[in-house]
Amino acid sequence: MRALLKRELNLALRAGSGALTGLLFFLAVITIFPFGIGPDLNALSRLAPAILWVGALLASLLGLERLFSQEREDGSLDLLVMQDHPLALSIFIKCLAHWLVTGLPLVLAVPLFGIMLNLSPIGIGAVMVTLLVGTPAITFIGAVGAAVTVSLPRGGLLIAILVLPLVIPVLIFGVSATNGALFDPDPFTSPFLILCALSLFTMVLGPLAASMMLRHSVE
């Protein structure tokens, strides 16, 4: 399994989505928001959690699309399925690697972006914590979507039905937990706990569901 993690990270670095690229991507995403929304720092700082979360979602979707389809096209998927490791574990590792290059850079860069978006120190802390807990969930849900598209050539509709009801709650609880930490009337603990639960839940179920799909896609 260490071998798989190493390969994935290697590939990511080699093939144009290394850690620096992840950071840079977020910088680019953050930069375009003020162009749309306007330079008003107050509005931006209110929206900062949403902006950062949207960036995380986009990054996950951008890279995940090819998570399994490439393995399938070059024949690696056959061999991955064939090994005696539980396939779900391999998928977990692949997701982990993906998160390390897309999710983690975001979490670590929040202080910088927070300053640019005029976020208070508490806000920065809250965004970091919620992103740290929540972004894995996005990756794991996305993996299921990627597995569906690989196994069903016409799975476009399915991915929406499967992934949508899960991704949006993650975003909502993530953003509302952050707002809870920032603005008084909103609660923090309960959405945060739900977020944690979602993350744990998808961490287990995501790879299992994806492995089920993938097993049938190698024919």
Partner: protein, 254 residues
């Protein structure tokens, strides 16, 4: 007339002669020490002049930052200009060294841009009360940093040099539109940032007491850029030689 023509062909043969990396290496080896020496001298002079400049009645001692800030941002943009010309060199004239020049300039440009952003932020805190605002010039300058870093990551991701050369050249040229945006953003949009006060076509609107140290610093930074650029080009050529040696060795060539 005739004279100009021969001069031009002379320059042209010189430039095409440079297409031979080996000759270029020799040239670089000879020039770099001189350039480094000139840079050091100019920097010393510029710093001395800066510290002896009078305090600004508005900005107090913080005006000192200007002597760093303005030259770095100029160089950051000039460097992109150099890269764009190199890109044309790759695509139009197919000069083999222009790709090397482009690649070698990118990290230097990124460093200048980062420095410009940092000095600007340091200056912005006392002047505007915020480290960062989303004003047109600042944002477009930040975009310049993103473009620089994007080009660097692209160059790293593409392994095949000939292919990377095309990709980098096209990306650089497409990104060029950002330069006029940075330059004229103060005129097009209302911004907090200082409008052009030195680099105007008409008479500069700055006191000579500030102007001379600033120009000296700018000159010093230009030489610094030239030195670093030559050094990095030399490294880049060496890197390529190592790469091709490795590949040939790996392919079993003897």
């Amino acid at each position: 007339m005739n004279d100009v023509a021969t001069q031009k062909t002379g320059f042209w043969t010189w430039l095409t002669g440079l297409a031979n990396p080996t000759r270029f290496m020799g040239l670089a080896d000879r020039w770099i020490p001189w350039l480094a020496a000139i840079t050091t001298a100019l920097l010393a002079l510029g710093l001395w002049m800066s510290f002896n400049a009078p305090e600004d009645y508005q900005q107090g001692a913080t005006v000192l930052i200007m002597f760093i800030h303005v030259p770095t941002v100029w160089l950051a943009m000039f460097c992109y200009l150099v890269m764009s010309i190199s890109a044309l060199g790759t695509l139009v004239w197919r000069h083999p060294l222009s790709d090397v020049a482009l690649r070698a300039a990118a990290p230097i440009g990124a460093a200048f841009t980062l420095l410009g952003l940092i000095t600007g932020s340091l200056w912005g805190k006392p002047m505007w009360g915020a480290w960062w605002v989303w004003d047109a010039r600042l944002t477009s300058f930040l975009v310049l940093l993103i473009i620089y870093l994007g080009i660097i990551s692209l160059g790293r991701a593409l392994e095949e040099p000939t292919q990377a050369a095309k990709a980098l050249a096209i990306t650089t040229l497409v990104g060029f539109i950002n330069l006029p945006i940075i330059k004229f953003s103060v005129d097009w949009f209302e911004t907090l940032h200082q409008p052009a006060s030195v680099s105007r076509l008409a008479k500069p609107a700055m006191d000579v007491a500030f102007l001379y140290p600033l120009l000296t610093m700018a000159l010093a930074f230009s030489f610094l850029f030239a030195t670093l650029h030559l050094m990095n080009m030399r490294n880049e050529i060496l890197r390529r030689r190592i790469r091709s040696l490795k590949l040939r060795a790996a392919a079993g060539e003897r």
